[in-house]
């Protein structure tokens, strides 16, 4: 009886895990976007690291508010194999200005609205910002967050993948 309950629970857990089955981040990692200096940057260069892709814009106040925390986490965990990548739905000069104000220590790539459309397939049907995708070393989506990412949850997600 106890075994049956355990089995059922295990099945339940398996179902729950299946429901959040790791999605492939291939489409995101195959992007190549210009940075603020116009240089094309391929996201594939960070494959093998834990990659946190953050869609943001300077005109999005809640996006800007959480970025200092990202800078801190990147500084702490970058040496362990973490790579933040910002994709700004914005103009390069505004992004550059904000990046220098913030001493941004990770790449700020420039994407158009077509790029944020890509986030629709990852659980952001409204193409709203900020939207953050945590990608494992194997290239699967470990977690997504629409709106500000709770720093504790973000850190524990990253820790479990590093």
């Amino acid at each position: 009886m106890g075994t049956a309950a355990l089995l059922a629970l295990a099945g339940g857990v398996a179902l729950a895990v299946w429901d959040q089955s790791p999605r492939d981040a291939a489409a995101l990692l195959s992007l190549s976007l210009p940075d603020t200096s116009g240089q094309q940057q391929s996201l594939a260069q960070w494959r093998g690291k834990v990659v946190v892709v953050n869609f943001w814009a300077t005109w999005c106040a809640p996006c800007r508010e959480e970025m200092p925390e990202f800078v801190k986490i990147q500084r702490e965990l970058g040496p362990k194999g973490l790579q933040f990548v910002g994709i700004a739905i914005d103009q390069a000069e505004k992004v550059e200005q904000f990046a220098s104000e913030l001493d941004l220590n990770y790449p700020a790539l420039i994407g158009g609205y077509a790029v944020v459309e890509l986030s629709k397939t990852l659980g952001n049907p409204l193409s709203a910002l900020p939207f953050t995708v945590v990608i494992s070393r194997k290239g699967t989506v470990a977690r997504t967050q629409l709106g500000a990412f709770d720093p504790t949850k973000l850190r524990s997600t990253i820790d479990s993948l590093l």
Binding site: W59, P62, P130, Q145
Partner: protein, 165 residues
């Protein structure tokens, strides 16, 4: 024994199903933009269209991101004077004016012919207090202008599909 076992399994599954349908906490659940920012327009007279946004509670539009256009271009839209918004302090942009609640903007069209149709386009960008922003959004409505001297037409609301193109 068997029945008991089954009920245990069902119970476990019940819990599982509940877990699966419960939305993940901490994820925000914002309104679709067409519900957050309802756009409509109606003719007041052959040369004036009243454009209106009904902004849901907890949502706001930025004044300097609001732009109107009217087709055909020969309508000659006069740059509308937008009402004063509420000041919002922004650490990067300084003071930003925002709109909440109802926003009404009158569009003057000196070049229209009474009885013709115009397409009113509004480009807007807004955010929600729950901490997300929407990308700039374009909405269009077709407004039939009255023949000279007739009463204002009823409000013509933007078709929903326009939001999802």
């Amino acid at each position: 024994m068997r029945t008991e076992r089954r009920s245990l399994i069902l119970h476990a599954l019940g819990v599982t199903v509940f877990t699966l349908v419960t939305p993940a906490p901490a994820q925000v659940n914002p309104l679709a933009p067409e519900k957050a920012f309802r756009f409509s327009a109606r003719a007041l007279d052959p040369h004036t269209v009243e454009a209106r946004f009904i902004i849901a509670d907890g949502y706001y539009l930025y004044r300097d991101k609001l732009h109107f256009a009217v087709e055909p271009a020969a309508s000659g839209l006069v740059t509308p004077s937008l009402p004063k918004g509420k000041m919002k302090e922004d650490q990067f942009f300084g003071r930003m004016e925002t709109y909440r609640g109802n926003l009404i903007v009158n569009l003057t069209l000196p070049g229209t012919t009474p009885g013709q149709k115009v397409v009113v386009q509004a480009e807007s960008q807004g955010c929600a207090d729950l901490g997300i922003c929407y990308p700039p959004n374009i909405q269009r409505v077709t407004v039939p202008l009255p023949a000279a001297g007739s009463a204002p037409t009823p409000l013509d609301e933007a078709p929903r599909k326009q939001w999802f193109k």
